[in-house]
């Protein structure tokens, strides 16, 4: 085969796969969202946007993303630098830190529910230590901020590892010479981090953030397990439209809205962390 054709030949299977399992379903969803039997219409969008829970679920989704992603970014950066500095046992620590990645969302939600429930671990511990006389109801509609905090914790626990993995790989790509040079000139650890690691980590940061932000807008199972009916999010509403109400059109419309939000944020992150041409390693 001709050498210049080879790359196209190699990406052909993936392209076909994406067309069949991503683009084609996407076209179907778009068709479902914009059509109500007779041609183009925005009825589905009007319906989902005018529902009284829409602004609440939108607000909750954004609030959660805004609270969780920055913490995860900081945590994963910290963890990644710690891991790269380790001489021994690096793999073991990485394995342990990435265990939550292998657990499904819902299972993660249920694990944290077992902690925060009225008869859960946290309550047993507090009663055992004499902090409270009897178990208190933590995940109640009267204390929405505790519910929010619990969901935040569960999300951080569950999904920080995905950023960590990307950042560890990214840090591994930074040539050691930069650090050696920095040592020679007596730069502090912090200075090395802000002047070498962070700038050279940009492409990885970009990937990690894009992935994580998109996932944050798709949060669902953890919220359902911990928040029950008191913390509606966009994904939960999509599920409700599709399966409780059997209203595929409205579900598709909401899905498109989530897609648009995801695209907008992806573009913002790509733009903010863009790597100028010629500055790549």
């Amino acid at each position: 085969m001709e050498a210049r054709l080879l790359p196209y030949f190699l990406i052909l299977p993936v392209t076909l796969f994406l067309c069949l399992f991503f683009l084609y379903p996407f076209a179907l969803v778009a068709q479902q969202a914009f059509g109500t039997g007779d041609g183009f219409s925005l009825d589905n969008f009007r319906e989902v946007v005018s529902y009284w829970k829409f602004p609440i679920s939108m607000k909750n989704t954004f609030l959660l993303a805004a609270a969780v992603v920055p913490i995860q970014l900081a945590l994963s950066l910290l963890m990644a630098t710690m891991v790269t500095k380790m001489q021994k046992g690096r793999d073991l620590v990485l394995y342990i830190w990435t265990i939550p990645l292998g657990i499904s969302d819902l299972a993660a939600g249920i694990i944290w529910l077992a902690i925060f429930e009225q008869s859960g671990f946290l309550n047993s511990m507090m009663v055992g230590l004499g902090v409270t006389d009897q178990p208190v109801s933590l995940l109640s509609y009267q204390t929405p901020w505790v519910v929010f905090l619990a969901i935040m914790l569960a999300e951080i626990w569950r999904a920080t590892a995905i950023m960590l993995v990307i950042l560890v790989a990214g840090i591994g790509l930074i040539p050691k010479e930069y650090y050696e040079a920095a040592d020679v000139f007596g730069a502090s650890r912090w200075k090395q981090f802000t002047r070498i690691t962070l700038p050279l980590l940009r492409p990885s940061l970009q990937t990690a953030l894009v992935l994580r932000v998109i996932l944050a807008f798709e949060v669902f199972a953890v919220v359902a397990a911990l928040g029950g009916t008191i913390f509606p999010v966009l994904m939960g509403e999509i599920y409700a439209y599709q399966f409780d109400l059997q209203n595929g059109g409205a579900a598709a419309a909401l899905a498109i809205i989530v897609l648009i939000i995801s695209i907008v944020f992806t573009l913002i992150i790509m733009r903010a962390l863009r790597v100028p041409k010629g500055a790549t390693i």
Binding site: W52, E117, Q134, S137, L139, G228, F243, Q246
Partner: protein, 422 residues
Amino acid sequence: MSIHLKLSVAVSGVAMLAGAAAVQAETLFWSTQARPAEEAQAMRTEVLGGFEGGVDYQPNEDGPWLTRLQAELQADSGSIDLLGSLHGNFSAMNPDDLMDLSELGVMSASGTFNDLAKLGTDSLQYMPWMQASYIMAANTEALQYLPEGADIDALTYDQLIAWAANVEEATGQKKFGFPAGPKGLKHRFFQGYLYPSYTNGVVRTFASPEAVTAWEKFKELWSHTNPASTNFSFMQEQLLNGDAWIVFDHTSRLAQAFNERPDDFVAFPAPAGPTGRGFMPVLAGVAIPRTAPDAEGAKALVTYLMQPETQIATLKATNFFPVVDVELPADLPPSVKAAGEAVAKMSSSADANPGLLPAGLGSMGGDFNRVYVDAFERIVLAGQPIEQVLEDQKKQLEKIMNETGAPCWAPDAPSEGACPVE
């Protein structure tokens, strides 16, 4: 590739094909009922094990259940032989998609059930299969706080509220439990219990002054309800771990509590309001889709399921009661005994006011439920003014009734055409 490897690949390929063929030969029973792992297993071994043709029993959530069924119907070719689901799921379907089962020679003992199963046609579109209801259950420790003069088998809503308040006062904890979680059956409580008990209707009386009273009463009850109820789905869990002492739920969602610690819990009828003791019988049925590859096998299976022995085995496996006349054996699990007695007391009480599951709503059953759930979330959780919320939600309800044209069902007075919201 070595000869050995080739050979083993070929052999395993043949084995897989043979396995696939063996699965194909079984009758595929596609059901939304008996979903929990233990129940599904009991269905496979205890109930369906005796069927000669062999059955591949596959329980599913409602969504996936309907999605695959619709796909098969649209494609005009299917692999599902028998459908098992609730009346509401069948009434949401086009009757033409289900085969007529009138000529099988079996039928439920209840005329009402058989009429419902016709789905508005002249023939039996599905076979009533099993029935259940919603009841109340309590931890025996709560019994000492029953208000004076209250008979647990004939409680009123006021007495229930007083009882929950007594328990709260005595223990310092809100121990009434209500299944208000995402998978909880709260809407059934409003549609089949609260509304019939206070307004003698469900749709017509949705925004009536009596409905306002009903919601006020419910708010009162809610003030003694475990605030974590918005996470509760199957109340047996809260009964067993002690988070709730007095609960309302579907009989099959309470079974585990009675089976694990039969002496610790009692089952009793739902309370009564000014217009009687509202309660909701639940009916499940089996049907054959028009795309069934093996309709004869499916029909044989329907006949098998309606035999008294099978019905008793089903009762033991799922806590759903028989729909044919059977002599109940003495060795029933504790949950079945407890629930059976409570249901019997409820339906035979002098002030019984049974309300049917919503019917004729087609694919809008979910929207209908949402009207009641939204009313609950806005009135009780968000604390919005009752009259205004009911006026708001009334518009949604009117839209649903007009779009579907569903006539009123009990306890609402019958209507010509779509059931009006008054």
